[in-house]
């Protein structure tokens, strides 16, 4: 992280969203750092970034904060609305507060850390992103999740991992129910290693051995009329 002296402030009470995103999207240097202030729940803050820059968002945001991020590190010092870090390709997004629905939806890569709770459909259709939620997650999380890792230090709501593909789900607390084709799986050494690495990156105070792993039973991969009742 660059020193505070090099940080450029983008004040949303004085600048238009377009101007702020244009500034961030045009930044290219790895030493560049920005802070976005007076967010007032605005939508689409810091979307489409494509450089290893550091952005601190001071305040809570509306929908799609850090959407489609590549390379950038975006730290939200507040809570985020629906679809935070959706379709992220790479980089890191850290949310100090809570995340609303669809956090990390369809993400292809990078790391999303939610230090509070995440609402329903966290990690829906995720395609390679890693998501670590320090608190709980809501219902239908990891629905049709394809790749990547979802780590939950708290509890998971109903229908976790419904119609799951190859994503790995790690939950430390309780799981209210599993969705179609999602089953508990053996935690092997390679999974403990993945988990330990993610917990460290996310600054999470937990031990890998405290988690249980869930994944796809792969019964629904090819249509079989005898499994139609599982849907």
């Amino acid at each position: 992280m660059p020193s505070e002296t090099g940080v450029k402030t983008l004040d949303m009470s004085a600048m238009e969203l377009r101007e702020i995103n244009e500034t961030l999207q045009s930044a290219a240097g790895s030493n560049e750092a920005f802070e976005v202030t007076n967010t007032r729940g605005a939508h689409a803050i810091a979307v489409g970034l494509d450089a290893p820059i550091h952005v601190t968002v001071k305040g809570s945001t509306g929908y799609y904060c850090a959407g489609m991020n590549k390379q950038a590190t975006i730290h939200v010092k507040g809570s985020v609305g629906p679809g935070a870090a959706e379709n992220m390709m790479s980089g890191t997004v850290i949310v100090d507060g809570d995340a609303s629905q669809y956090a990390g939806a369809t993400g292809h890569g990078g790391l999303l850390v939610v230090k509070g709770n995440a609402s329903s459909r966290c990690g829906i259709s995720m395609k390679g992103i890693d998501i670590v939620v320090h608190g709980n997650i809501g219902h239908m999380s990891a629905f049709m999740a394809q790749k990547g890792n979802l780590v939950v230090l708290g509890d998971a709501g109903d229908a976790l991992g419904d119609s799951l593909y190859e994503a790995r789900l790690f939950v430390r607390g309780s799981v209210k129910s599993l969705g179609a084709d999602c089953v508990e799986k053996e935690m092997r050494p390679e999974h403990l290693k993945i988990l330990a690495d993610l917990l460290e990156k996310a600054g999470a105070d937990a031990k890998p051995e405290e988690f249980r792993r869930y994944g796809s039973a792969r019964k629904l991969y090819n249509f079989n009329i005898d499994h139609a009742g599982d849907y």
């Binding site: 379709n87 939806a105 292809h108 629905f143």
Partner: protein, 440 residues
């Protein structure tokens, strides 16, 4: 021997041979029938409309001498870089995965030579189509397979797919036979599985959310790209009004004859409205909002001829889009493959098992040997020729109605052959001044 006269064996209309064959197929397999293409049932269509032509009250233009413009600009509402097309006919979204790489290349080549755009589909953008499409519309679908910001930025427009005419309210499926290593890689899925495409977007619900989603897409692409919203022909008045509200630059409206790569036959034939029935309510919604011609309307689903193009434009569309017809132009269902269609239990013109990946024409397949049958250069030329013919036909009809631009065609240029078509198109029944539902 009994000499009592017997009546001819009488087949049931209700239990026809076709119906009975489906009952037997269902009983044998225990699964519904899946196929490609659009609705095959007879529904009121553009064939049920006629142009009136010039007369004492209309002055025609001279064919081959007086100009009849065909250009159209899509995306004039908000986008900094609207799309300029030479003809009002675009190529509809069809996925790499459902189609082969050479087929996507051919579509790009043909569209580019004719001065129009082509469209990606589920599964992401391939180099074949980006490289050969001067103007490429990038579909933003519920599955988000292959979706990434780099491709968003190198697209010429973005089409948010809410629905399609073959299956309003339905998602997609691509069976394991077509999930090759390349297709699976682009979709982040295991090879060989039956791949489902979601029916709802994962991170927004309803038009209020969509408005914010569109804001995000515009911010990522610097407000340069036109944003289309594609809807199936379900409730065209409200779907169009809500699309305007959500911030669309362009609305693509796909009637039930619009094709699909693979969907349940029961869905294709029983959900959605005919294309003809969708256009006037859609145009009415735009007019009620003061947005007709400001938000462009692209109509698709069963467009085959220049007459279809001209009639859709006369009813208020700004452009049309073709999918099935484009595939036929490339070589799909060509009689030269009849023996192979027969071997697959089908026949020329009826082959629709595109999901099985065994297309003799090499278009709806990922089989390398079959794919090699399609020469993308020659197929691209065929598509260019076909698009040129559609345009010439449309111009011919427009000139006959005295129009110097195909967009000047209007409902007053039309009459209907059937009461149903008159009611749907809201033009008079031929020989009368009666428009059903409009009184005298």
């Amino acid at each position: 021997m009994d000499k009592t006269p017997r009546t001819l064996p009488r087949q049931s209309w209700t239990f026809s041979n076709e119906v009975n064959s489906e009952i037997r197929r269902a009983a044998e397999t225990g699964i519904y029938d899946i196929r490609g293409g659009g609705a095959k049932r007879r529904v009121p269509h553009f064939d049920d409309l006629l142009f009136l032509g010039a007369s004492m009250s209309r002055y025609p233009l001279e064919g081959y001498r007086e100009k009849c413009e065909t250009g159209v600009t899509l995306g004039t509402r908000f986008a900094k870089k609207p799309i300029e097309l030479k003809i009002p006919i675009t190529i509809a979204g069809m996925s790499f995965g459902s189609l082969s790489g050479p087929a996507k290349e051919a579509l790009g080549r043909g569209a580019t030579m004719a001065g129009t755009s082509t469209t990606t589909g589920d599964g992401g953008m391939t180099e074949e189509e980006r490289g050969h499409s001067e103007k490429l519309v990038y579909q933003y679908l519920p599955s988000r397979y292959g979706m990434n910001p780099d491709d968003l930025r190198r697209a010429d427009a973005i089409e948010v797919v809410v629905g399609q005419g073959a299956k309003p309210g339905g998602g997609g499926m691509l069976l394991g036979q077509k999930i090759t290593e390349r297709v699976a890689g682009m979709r982040d899925l295991p090879q060989g599985i039956d791949q489902r495409s979601a029916c709802r977007h994962p991170d927004w619900t309803g038009p209020d959310d969509l408005e914010i989603k569109i804001l995000e897409l515009r911010e990522i692409t610097k407000w340069e790209k036109p944003i289309y919203i594609k809807v199936g022909g379900a409730r065209p008045y409200y779907d169009v009004a809500l699309s305007v509200k959500a911030g669309a630059d362009v609305i693509v409206l796909d009637g039930m004859q619009g094709g699909t790569a693979a969907t349940q036959d029961v869905f294709i034939e029983n959900v959605g409205q005919p294309t003809l029935a969708c256009i006037r309510p859609a145009v009415q919604a735009l007019q009620d909002l003061g947005m007709h011609r400001k938000v462009q309307l692209v109509v698709s689903g069963g467009i085959r001829t220049g007459a279809d193009v001209a009639k859709a434009l006369a009813l208020g569309a700004d452009a049309v889009s073709i999918g099935t017809a484009a595939l036929i132009a490339l070589g799909d269902n060509d009689p030269k493959w009849e023996a192979e269609y027969q071997a697959l239990g089908s026949t020329t013109g009826a082959y629709d098992d595109w999901h099985e990946g065994r297309d003799p024409a090499g278009i709806t397949t990922q089989d390398p040997e079959l794919m090699a049958r399609l020469d993308p250069v020659a197929a691209g030329r065929r598509l260019r020729n076909y698009l040129n013919v559609l345009t010439l036909e449309c111009q011919t009809l427009a000139r006959a109605c005295g129009k110097s631009h195909v967009h000047n065609l209007e409902p007053e240029d039309l009459c209907a052959l059937t009461i149903e078509a008159a009611a749907m198109a809201q033009v008079p029944l031929a020989g009368t001044n009666w428009i059903p539902g409009k009184g005298i």
